[in-house]
């Protein structure tokens, strides 16, 4: 039992290290990898780590993944993942990019109403913080 837990912890740390490396990787392709592999994982913890990594990158394309896309970041089905992403957005020092993406999402065409609604709520929270 302990061996299984240790093995799982090691693998979890390995995933965490790779996601952390993609957070600081200067190559813009890192966002695409996080979006393709991380945000589509069936494990909540991995999606949570990925969403946080995308917020930390604080780039328009990385923020649009976790704000504008259904089922990812603030729109995730898991409350834990969504709340964790919102919390990470609120703790950003430079919120300028995030606010722009939120405004684009709210006013954007072809975006689902529930995604817009979420973006509106988060924008209100960010304005207050």
């Amino acid at each position: 039992m302990n061996t299984t837990i240790n093995k799982t912890t090691k693998t979890y740390n390995r995933v965490s290290d790779i996601i952390d490396s993609l957070t600081i990787n200067p190559n813009p392709d890192a966002v695409a990898v996080l979006e393709e592999i991380g945000t589509n994982s069936s494990i909540d913890e991995v999606r949570e780590m990925t969403a946080r990594a995308l917020v930390k990158r604080n780039e328009p394309n990385s923020l649009s993944v976790i704000i504008s896309q259904r089922g990812k970041g603030i729109n995730d089905m898991s409350t834990v993942v969504a709340m964790s992403t919102i919390n990470c957005l609120l703790s950003l020092e430079d919120k300028e990019e995030a606010m722009k993406v939120l405004e684009n999402t709210i006013s954007g065409e072809g975006i689902e109403e529930d995604v817009r609604e979420n973006a509106r709520s988060v924008k209100a929270l960010m304005a207050l913080s």
Partner: protein
Amino acid sequence: MSTIERVSQWSHRIFNTTANEQNVRRSSNPFAQSNFQKNILMEDVFESSDKKNVSFTGGITQGTKRIYSTFVGSINDFGKKFYEGIESIKEFGIRMKNGIVGAWNKVCEIGSTEIHPVEGLKNGYNAVKNVLATDMGKLFNTREKEVARLAKLDPHTEVKPMLSNAIKALEEELTVAA
């Protein structure tokens, strides 16, 4: 051998406790072979009444003065050594006390601020145990180094397969654990 040298040697033998003498001179001293802390009085301290160069009633000769000063000097020296010995014992005691107090403070610092000595020791013991049980890799920031190394790799060709495999492995392990 001059008188000064002989007196110096004599005083040295009295106060030297490590001496294990075998050589005993014949002399008129009835206590010459007495054992005084394994030291044997070698010199004939009983001066002959015929010798007139030392007289307590009369004046003391220059030679005698030198002898007495050498003897007194050696006693003073002994006193100094004795004092130094006591001082070293005192210092040792202080060092021991400081060491114990320091160790105790360290244990309390590591553990908690509990005043209760048994609880403090328990907490200290647990804290030390936790430190020893910690992954040593963390202490040397190997993970940070690994993250920095991975950050230099190409995301698509190198990192993507790694992440994909690691997530698959984690999924499998979680399935087994469940």
